[in-house]
Subunit: 270 residues, 2 copies
Amino acid sequence: MTNHRFDAAIALKPDSAERELFHGGTSPDYGNMVGPFGGTTAATLLQAVLDSPEVLGSPVSLTVNFAAPLADGPFTIATRPVRTNRSNQHWLLELQQDAVPVVTGSLVTGLRRETWADTEVRPPEVAAPEELTPQQPPDGIAWAANYDIRFAQGALPTPGSGESADSTTTLWVRDDPPRQLDFPGLAARCDVFFPRVFLRHGQYVPAGTVSMTAYFHADADTVARQAADHVLGTARAQRFGNGYFDQTAELWGRDGSLLATTHQIVYFKA
Amino acid sequence: MTNHRFDAAIALKPDSAERELFHGGTSPDYGNMVGPFGGTTAATLLQAVLDSPEVLGSPVSLTVNFAAPLADGPFTIATRPVRTNRSNQHWLLELQQDAVPVVTGSLVTGLRRETWADTEVRPPEVAAPEELTPQQPPDGIAWAANYDIRFAQGALPTPGSGESADSTTTLWVRDDPPRQLDFPGLAARCDVFFPRVFLRHGQYVPAGTVSMTAYFHADADTVARQAADHVLGTARAQRFGNGYFDQTAELWGRDGSLLATTHQIVYFKA
């Protein structure tokens, strides 16, 4: 825990009476067009488990379902350790506002052990972040101001962009000001890509994540080794239709480690 | 509902007292090396919601967390409609055996409406199923006998296979005997790929799915249009390490429709 704005945004207080209940609130620093940045919400759900003395190992798999828009304001997160096995642990998570469920989630944590390892995919070959210029959304989306994002491919559309045949975005991202990477920081970064439909249409249209999943390939040492450096992300959609599209993405450390693969299904109007 | 063995395997009976509780049981017809085929479990969880008179629209996103091995025998599934919005609905699912949680899940269903559509990925170019020979696992894994699976790439390892540098499997799959495709049948097919680590190592090693997610791109009409025909699936791993690997896959209709994209994280020992 540092004194970065991100830590303040995902901070939780344990309930005074109920053991697996936490109190938090949305942060104006990480506001999105409507409600908070989904990445912060995912990170906060993860933080609720990491705050638990019972947690076994480090995050392996996180799913977050956005059942309704979060309102700006306070919320509670209930964590439920469903099952603890020898080497992993399953959690269910529920965020409520005014006693109404708004976000649900599930998390698997695990003790990692040395095994045969291989990364089959390769990081995209792009210019170093030092050779690229940071880009911020023009309409002052608050959360983006807390990241240094440098697009190598598929930048945010601007008035002259026009349509694109390819939904791929590849970008470098670090916190701004820099912050040591940890699992909540990595979870938030899984949602750092703007909706792929913006890129295809060359303009902003209504869109919102319905469900996202992150698989954490990095162990705690690999995450720590990234320090506060840029992480390389690449995301694309596979199919758009009937009001939904998917997004599949990879997050890479600058040292070539595949930190996470992450997927989401997104609602859109276009 | 047909009288196919698959329908018997995923059949549920509503509890006589509790409204959102269902009774089912594992089927020896769909047994795996240990416990039942995960695809049948995913399909049964989905079926529990589809059996509900409250269900809104068709499946959009399904996540299934395998918290512990299912024992052969009876189970209950509790469904909880967390939130119903204008155009989608969020469900939580929990399968228990002897009052202990074994599998948890979440499902988003949605009303689909006509929008702009595009499929960015392309189906793999492979021989038609008629030109390929069905392959069954040598050790008589029960569930596989209920599918006609024809490998175009990355078949099941046999004693002489040796290691492979690529974890990709591409296959055609239909029920055997044939069965009209529906959403549970599609959900089951998301887990039809054997563990990718088998292919890399050229042999069977201990492995099991920890969490799987399916995004359904097809609407009910597109699913129905596939009739009982073969579906084309392609799956690969992106990273193996520290006892886990991921799998990302696509399921295509023979008519070129992307039916589903699906991802999982798998525990392994090697």
